[in-house]
């Protein structure tokens, strides 16, 4: 665990899902600042500002696939096709479990593909697991 605060990019069109995520992250990790981007358009703008150096690289990005305007796949391509943005670890976090989506995301170098769980407490556990995993990961040191 670092003493610095971490930025987590949450690209999610559903305000309810965003609220759930933020609830659990706030519950488990007080040092994480969440940046919620509710559609593809705003996400693209935000990524552009990172690339311009106006904003720092986030620690992690949780990306939903079904989004207004640009969808998750397009945003993933934008991140992974850019040499600088490609360092952002992207966890695709979506309701979809379609093999087509999974295949497309993995081909586009998504760092993980995790389907949003539907069990009563599993949403929180999954969020926790993702955070724990990426805390173990040395990815940030690239």
């Amino acid at each position: 665990m670092t003493h610095q605060r971490r930025n987590l990019l949450l690209i999610e069109d559903s305000y309810e899902h965003a609220e759930l995520a933020m609830f659990y992250i706030a519950e488990y990790r007080q040092d994480i600042d969440i940046i919620h981007l509710p559609d593809g358009g705003s996400a693209m703008q935000y990524l552009e500002s990172i690339r311009n150096g106006e904003r720092p690289l986030p620690w992690l990005c949780l990306l939903d696939l079904k989004l207004p305007k640009y969808d998750g796949h397009e945003i993933l391509s934008t991140i992974k096709d850019d040499e600088y943005l490609a360092r952002i670890p992207v966890v695709v976090f979506t309701t979809s479990a379609a093999s087509k989506d999974i295949q497309q995301a993995i081909t586009k170098h998504a760092n993980s593909f995790i389907t949003k769980p539907m069990g009563a407490d599993r949403y929180g556990m999954t969020i926790d697991s993702i955070l724990k995993y990426w805390e173990l990961n040395q990815h940030e040191r690239i």
């Binding site: 309810e16 305007k69 640009y70 979809s96 539907m118 009563a120 599993r122």
Partner: protein, 622 residues
């Protein structure tokens, strides 16, 4: 000729005619050749017969030579058989001359006429020779012999008279010896015909006479006897001379006169021979010229006949081979599957006519096959198109399922998540916080219900509203505008319907739903009120389509999203109301009407939706 053949004879008959004509030509050629050869052989025969004249010539020469040889043998040897042979040869020759005189042409006859007197003369001389020789023989055997023995007797008498005088006796003895010598010389002369013997004999006779005269001069007593002996001796000399004379005479006859005659005959026969040779040469030239002429005529005839035969063959070949060659081309085209192959015109029902009939059946079959092929192609295309439609439908279905699973799961995830949060808050004793989360769950479930209803609505499009009818868009949109007039006026939204809208063929309630959805979107994304939001609906005709446009003055749509907006549950703004089903339904309605929809827009410049309807058969701009 070809046309005549084709028009009047069947194939079989044409071939037969060809055979018959060719056979006739061959027969004519053979007959011509036979005639030519018989003419040539006649010439040859006449040539051979004229060559027999040579035989006469040779006969003449040979016989004359033979006769002359026999005559010589007779003359010198004195064989009577030789004389007989001369006579027989003469008679034979004469007879042959007589027969030949009758058989030969005047030219040769003239020669033979010349030869005959010579031959006769020759024979006459020979008879003279014979006579002389006979006389000579007679002289030798009788006169000469008698004189010799008479003298010998006288000398013997004298010897007796002069027995006392040995000298005279010796002289008388020498006379006897000389006489013997004379005789011996005569025979030698006759044998060898050397006149020196005659001279020697004459000398010895002279000596004998001189000896006797000498004895007479000394012995007068015996004068008469001696004179008698001298006289006898003189006679002996005469007979000796006569013998010699005769011999010379016939030798002259045979060696000069007869030889001359014989040479004359030989000369004539030589001339005859030359004449015959010349004649033969002329004849030979004539024959060879004739042969050449005949051969030339034969060649010309054969050539002409062969040319005629070639013409006949050619016309038959044309009448058979050309139609067959054309047919072969036709069949080649037919086997290639062509149904357009040209079949040569052929009016007859002969073997080729039957082939042509077969070809036309073939073509009919090809046509049938082509029709079947086209039908099968059409079916294949239809199958392909339905397969594509099916594929498309499948894809669409998959897309729908994919979207639906995502969008329907979303409220569930929300509900479960909030339930979990509520439990957690409740555990912590924050009941108020927990209850406040209930609204989220209610909203989420409400949203799920809306999604399901929208989905049902979407699935109904094209499934339960199959009754299509003629729709006058002017009337339909007039009613549509009237229906919404009050509400739109209230929010300050202008709906303008252009005149001259087309008549289309479709399902009225769906078309109405389509315009409602477009209007809803326009209202939903309406710009700030001071500009005055509006929607214009109008139409233009475009080739065989009717294009209806719905133009608003809203915020417009970025090109990147112009395709996406027709997707199921796709929203450009998650703050706006609605599930994102409206344009998906619009697109589906257009599709079941065989049309299409697309949008033309730039951000900030409004959007224009184009609806493309296929123009109805009865659809006219009214």
């Amino acid at each position: 000729m070809t046309q005549f053949l084709i028009n009047h004879f069947k194939l079989q008959q044409r071939i037969n005619i060809g055979y018959i004509l060719a056979g006739s030509v061959s027969v004519i050629i053979v007959i011509l050749a036979a005639l030519a050869f018989s003419s040539i052989s006649n010439d040859y025969r006449s040539y051979i017969s004229s060559s027999q004249k040579f035989h006469i010539d040779l006969l003449l020469t040979g016989q004359i030579t033979d006769i002359h040889r026999q005559a010589m043998i007779y003359t010198y040897q004195g064989h009577p058989s030789a004389a007989d042979q001369v006579m027989t040869g003469y008679e034979n020759l004469l007879k042959q001359l007589d027969t030949d005189l009758q058989a030969n042409p005047p030219k040769i006859q003239a020669f033979l006429d010349t030869i005959r007197p010579h031959l006769k003369n020759y024979y006459a001389v020979f008879l003279q020779v014979k006579k002389q020789r006979d006389t000579q023989q007679y002289l030798i055997r009788n006169d000469f012999r008698n004189h010799a023995s008479t003298i010998e007797t006288l000398i013997r008498d004298l010897t007796i008279q002069f027995s006392h005088s040995s000298d005279v006796n010796w002289q008388l003895e020498s006379i006897l010896n000389r006489l013997l010598s004379v005789e011996r010389n005569l025979y030698r002369y006759l044998d060898i015909l050397d006149s020196s013997y005659v001279a020697a004999a004459k000398e010895q006779l002279d000596e004998a006479t001189a000896v006797l005269e000498n004895i007479g001069r000394h012995n007068h007593a015996q004068q008469s006897l001696i004179n008698q002996a001298i006289d006898k001796l003189e006679r002996y000399r005469q007979s000796f001379n006569e013998v010699v004379q005769r011999t010379r005479g016939y030798l002259y006859l045979i060696n000069v006169v007869m030889a001359a005659e014989a040479y004359e005959i030989l000369y004539q026969s030589k001339k005859l021979s030359n004449l015959i040779t010349e004649e033969m040469a002329v004849k030979e030239r004539a024959i060879s010229a004739h042969v050449e002429e005949i051969l030339w005529i034969l060649t010309v005839c054969c050539s002409v006949l062969l040319a005629i035969m070639a013409l006949i063959t050619d016309s038959i070949r044309r009448s058979i081979a050309l139609p067959i060659a054309r047919l072969a081309n036709t069949f080649r085209a037919l086997t290639g599957g062509s149904s357009q192959a040209s079949i040569p015109a052929y009016p007859l029902n002969d073997e080729i006519g039957q082939l042509i009939h077969a070809a036309s059946s073939f073509r009919d079959k090809n046509m049938e096959t082509e029709c079947l092929l086209q039908e099968s192609l059409r079916l294949t295309r239809a199958l392909e198109s339905s397969h594509k439609t099916l594929e498309h439908t499948n894809e669409e279905l998959e897309q729908v399922i994919h979207t639906v699973s995502h969008d329907l799961k979303s409220p569930l995830v929300t509900s479960m998540g909030f339930v979990s949060i509520m439990r957690k808050l409740a555990d912590q004793g924050q009941y108020e916080q927990a209850v406040s989360r209930l609204d989220k769950i209610t909203l989420s479930i409400g949203r799920m219900e809306q999604l399901i209803n929208d989905l049902l609505d979407f699935s109904r499009v094209g499934r339960i509203d199959l009754n299509h009818k003629r729709i006058d868009m002017n009337a339909l949109l007039y009613r549509f505008a009237q229906t919404h007039e009050e509400n739109l006026n209230r929010i300050g939204f202008t709906l303008r319907i252009h005149p001259n809208l087309p008549v289309i063929h479709g399902n009225e309630s769906r078309i109405l739903q389509l315009f409602e959805n477009i209007l809803t979107n326009a209202v939903k994304y309406a710009p700030n009120e001071e500009q005055g939001a509006r929607l214009e609906i109008g139409a233009i005709a475009y080739y065989d389509h009717s294009l209806i446009f719905c133009r608003d003055n809203g915020p417009g749509i970025e090109p990147a999203f112009q395709q996406k907006i027709f997707g199921l549950f796709y929203r450009l703004d998650n703050h706006a109301e609605g599930s994102g089903i409206g344009l998906a339904i619009v697109k589906k309605v257009m599709k079941i009407h065989g049309g299409d929809i697309w949008v033309e827009s730039e951000p900030g410049k409004g959007a224009c939706f184009w609806l493309k309807f296929p123009r109805s058969k009865t659809a006219e701009v009214s």
